[in-house]
């Protein structure tokens, strides 16, 4: 447990999962819906940027902007064209919207494959730091930028949720849509903001994480699952809960294979999910939740 390189790896994963979970958190708060499509949004954030830079010769920052805008646009489309109409039609039944969002997940994944190709592209490093030595380990600039940006994002979100009107409304609307509508709150506007914001957060997450091991078009499903787990573990009581959940998941994903061998991770995650979802679905930091 004292190998710094492993811890760095765990923290990297933790930051990434935390950002994904935050992306889920925003949509969940604002709409009461688990947007599985954040996985592909993240993939687009990373893959689109890399593709523009490598294949199309864009310079870095314009490519980043385009990719993040694309992620946000996909999120907006998800809400406007898929989730809202399907939810309106199916009332209290969760399944149609769930199935529809998985179809969105696949559509984005396949579209990315068609447009960007199926090979794994390396991630793009945004800032130029020097690598830092910690004991026997090396903190690469890509990892450092992931950690720093994650901290900045979470702090910003924590402030935003508390200070801005939209931020405070987010939770109110998500908890009870009908009551919110009756009170005259701008439900549809909040929903769109929540989705677009989640697209941005996921896009940033994918962009930063792509540097670790590259990114390819079918990462969407795995990342969607990782983010969901991280959110459920952490809970939804505060903005920071997703980060805690992400860190826990990152630690598990690094140390379980290290101590128990590769296959144990799948088994452990399954058992963990069954226990957590069954016994404490509200996560570590709890608000009431209905499974």
């Amino acid at each position: 447990m004292d190998d710094p390189q492993l811890w760095i790896s765990a923290i990297q994963l933790g930051c990434f999962f935390g950002l994904l979970a935050l992306s889920y958190y925003v949509v969940l708060s604002g709409t009461g819906f688990f947007n599985f499509a954040v996985g592909p949004y993240a993939m687009v954030g990373g893959l689109f940027t890399s593709w523009l830079v490598i294949e199309k010769g864009f310079s870095l920052w314009p490519a980043v902007v385009v990719a993040l805008v694309a992620a946000m646009a996909l999120a907006a489309v998800t809400e406007l064209i898929v989730v809202r109409p399907v939810q309106n039609r199916s009332g209290r039944n969760q399944l149609p919207a769930l199935v529809a969002v998985t179809a969105v997940l696949f559509a984005i994944e396949q579209l990315a494959g068609v447009i960007f190709g199926y090979t794994t592209l390396p991630g793009e490093q945004l800032f130029n730091f020097q690598a830092i030595e910690i004991g026997s380990a090396e903190l690469l600039p890509a990892a450092l930028e992931l950690i720093i940006v994650t901290a900045v994002v979470f702090i910003s979100m924590a402030i935003w949720v508390r200070i801005t009107r939209t931020g405070r409304l987010l939770r109110a609307v998500g908890d009870n849509r009908d009551a919110a509508a009756l009170l005259g709150l701008p439900v549809n506007r909040i929903r769109i903001i929540a989705f677009v914001l989640s697209g941005l957060l996921a896009g940033i997450a994918g962009l930063l994480f792509a540097t670790k091991a590259g990114v390819n078009s079918d990462a969407g499903l795995t990342w969607a699952l990782d983010g969901f787990l991280a959110l459920v573990i952490g809970g939804t009581a505060t903005v920071w809960a997703p980060l805690v959940g992400g860190m826990i998941l990152g630690i598990l994903q690094v140390f379980i294979p290290y101590y128990l061998g590769g296959p144990s991770l799948s088994y452990s995650l399954l058992i963990l999910a069954i226990i957590f979802f069954g016994l404490r679905p509200q996560g570590i930091f709890a608000r009431r939740v209905r499974v």
């Binding site: 688990f34 199935v99 069954g278």
Partner: protein
């Protein structure tokens, strides 16, 4: 008070007490007829062309997996993504019987679904309080864990899987590949038929009631948690049949044969084909196989078309293909009848 039965049933009398005697029954028999005719036509089209036979095998296996998902998902309202695992159980049962024992291969066809049913009951018990997104996530993890298990199971060939089976031996008769192709179509038709009968039967009515009004069903005397498990088990068994079929006909199986992609496609198949009848799952399988395996790559992928197609259908035509055909049929018969029929 009126005691005339026929007045209540708009002129149709009860023949055997089944509710299929009502207009829905007529529809069920009509669908079955179309299904059989379609199967015959497909077999004729496939003939002995090797490539087309491969398509048919895939379509048949997908159809069975989709039919397997149909029971818990459409009838009982519970979405589980563990079907890759159940199909693998079916396939590996056949493969292992061939590899490790001297028993005839059709044993695998029987044992596989039973083991899958037991697995479904265990998983269902562990997840009995879960639904919606949580259940999807857990069953996804289960699929991945199961795949990992298979990759590391040396008795099952590990990551390389198992290949080269003995031929299928039915009490001394070894059917040729072409005959087996025909049997594939027959199997799918039979399963779709039986599941449709099941949907319309008392069991089917109670299970569908359980989906929408579980408190009422429980208060009427049915044990809801147990009934969910039975539905899951039946679905898993049918899914395992699909796995057994695919493995038997293709002659090999690996841990990655039944991917998650396939499971998601299996959800979409009844939605595309129409959830009102089990034949929709079969039709959806045909459409999906056509799009994903048979279309020459025209700068696009079949899965993309399927995903987009599902979204369009869910938004615009939620009854699926068969649902709209059936609506059309009703309109046509109404036009023909001319007398104002009370609906």
């Amino acid at each position: 008070m009126s005691t005339s039965k026929t007045a209540l049933l708009d002129g149709k009398s009860l023949s055997d007490g089944r509710f299929t005697a009502w207009p829905r029954g007529v529809q069920a028999n009509g669908n079955a007829l179309i299904g059989v005719v379609a199967a015959v036509l497909i077999l004729v089209w496939v003939g002995t062309n090797g490539y087309k036979q491969t398509l048919l095998i895939s379509a048949g296996a997908y159809a069975l997996i989709a039919l397997g998902m149909y029971v818990p998902f459409v009838l009982a309202g519970s979405l589980s993504l563990a079907y890759g695992a159940y199909a693998s159980i079916g396939g590996y049962s056949v493969a292992l019987i061939s590899e490790k024992t001297a028993l005839p291969l059709w044993f695998g066809w029987i044992i596989g679904p039973i083991i899958a049913g037991v697995a479904a009951v265990l998983l269902g018990t562990a997840t009995r309080r879960l639904s919606g997104f949580y259940l999807v996530a857990v069953t996804l993890l289960f699929s991945e864990a199961f795949q990992t298990y298979l990759s590391n199971a040396s008795y099952a060939g590990g990551a390389a899987g198992l290949t080269s089976f003995r031929p299928l031996d039915v009490f001394g008769w070894e059917p040729s590949f072409d005959v087996l192709i025909g049997a594939t179509a027959v199997l799918v038709v039979v399963v779709a038929l039986l599941l449709n009968r099941l949907r319309l039967s008392a069991w089917g009515v109670v299970v569908r009631g359980m989906r929408e009004a579980p408190a009422a069903i429980e208060a009427s005397g049915a044990r809801v948690p147990m009934l969910s498990l039975v539905a899951l088990a039946i679905g898993a068994g049918v899914g395992a049949l699909g796995g057994a079929l695919f493995t038997q006909m293709n002659g090999s199986i690996q841990p990655t044969t039944f991917t998650l992609n396939l499971v998601f496609l299996a959800i979409y198949m009844p939605l595309i084909g129409g959830t009102g009848t089990s034949w929709g799952a079969a039709l959806g399988a045909l459409i999906v196989v056509e799009l994903t395996l048979n279309l020459p790559s025209l700068h696009t992928s079949g899965t993309l078309l399927v995903a987009l197609g599902v979204l369009v259908i869910m938004l615009v035509a939620p009854r699926g293909v068969l649902g709209y055909l059936d609506l059309g049929r009703k309109e046509v018969t109404r036009l023909f009848r001319r007398t104002g029929s009370r609906q």
